[in-house]
Symmetry: C2
Subunit: 213 residues, 2 copies
């Protein structure tokens, strides 16, 4: 919950982004999502060189899943930190983050994988039919893509917006090639847990707007 | 704790940043901190237009406080999410984030302030002698600056790197004018909770390097 003061700052920020962005290529459902990423990064590049891209069913599938109380699986605690906590409470969405689980650490060491990579495999039952949001680890995103290709999971939406220099851009390119699985991702190296949270927060805004209309 | 795989990805990323940055204006103590922000954002702009700036005593004062078990007060949970959790545990640094406290919400509503702004005032005993890290809310940073000017608190270090369109750049400019209080901040609108966490994680790296040398 925001205070009136907090809300008025947010509203003024959004107006400023609308004014400064000028023309863009997003439709009326996509733009509030991209705008919220820009709001959380102050980086207009997410509408340009490192621009956000949407699978054609991404928004529809994501909001339907949220409304139906799907799980939300994230790679790092930073994504949880950026969420408006009232939303998952109200819509009974379970938030899953296994990265700090000692068993995940042990498995990762044994298999020479990253913790976030293993944490995805462990969460397969929540990923199936759920929303996965990757803000940090390309290895986690690649693992989810593998799981989809292996037919183990069928996520309602993959939010794949890891940041970084090693494999981040490549993992997102792989994601964008999935035809049947709804995704929201972006081009290039930029991204991060704040961007992943921003996308989830923006989806909830759409859910609430639909329910109140 | 990172796995070997995770560490090798991080090392390769840092090397890539070193290679791509070319010349920069930072000394050998400052650069690992700026580099970690670039690592967490994939945005070289933090060394350029929106560049990070350091009070001359910032690093020394920050690492001394961490070693002595100071509190770390943050504005939003996202900053906590991005921290390497083993560090505050090992150095007994208490992490304080009051933004979700119902009393803070109530006070903020009554006083027409933001929650993060009120959360700073409430944390004054931890801010005094401690480290404050603001990744999100300019109103919180401005409040801390007021508290310093009022003589209520004397933080060991203010990490002020809020992101945004309303007052973010202005609040950081105010911070950079403080002469006696150590700060790390940046110019312009960019920043965020990931950047704030990156700075704290980088400071701990220096602490550990010093202790093991």
């Amino acid at each position: 919950m925001q205070t009136r003061k907090g809300q008025s700052i947010e509203d003024a920020s959004m107006q400023m982004i609308d004014k400064e962005i000028g023309t863009h290529q997003y439709n009326e459902k996509e733009w509030p999502i991209v705008r919220r990423i820009i709001h959380s990064t102050a980086d207009f590049d997410f509408a340009r060189e490192n621009r956000v891209i949407f699978h054609k069913k991404a928004i529809e599938s994501g909001i339907k899943a949220l409304k139906n109380g799907c799980s939300i699986v994230v790679d790092v605690n930073g994504v949880i930190g950026g969420l408006n906590k009232q939303n998952p409470k109200d819509f009974q969405n379970k938030i899953v983050c296994n990265i700090s689980d000692p068993k995940v650490m042990e498995m990762a060491k044994k298999e020479n994988k990253t913790r976030s990579q293993v944490s995805m495999r462990v969460a397969s039952s929540d990923i199936d039919g759920g929303i996965v949001a990757i803000g940090n680890a390309p290895t986690a995103l690649l693992e989810v893509i593998h799981m989809v290709k292996e037919g183990i999971v069928k996520p309602a939406l993959i939010i794949g917006i890891p940041v970084g220099f090693i494999c981040a851009a490549e993992s997102k390119e792989e994601l964008s090639k999935l035809e049947e699985t709804p995704f929201i991702t972006n081009i290039g190296r930029k991204g991060g847990s704040s961007s992943a949270s921003a996308i989830i927060n923006a989806l909830y805004k759409i859910v609430r707007a639909e329910l109140s209309s």
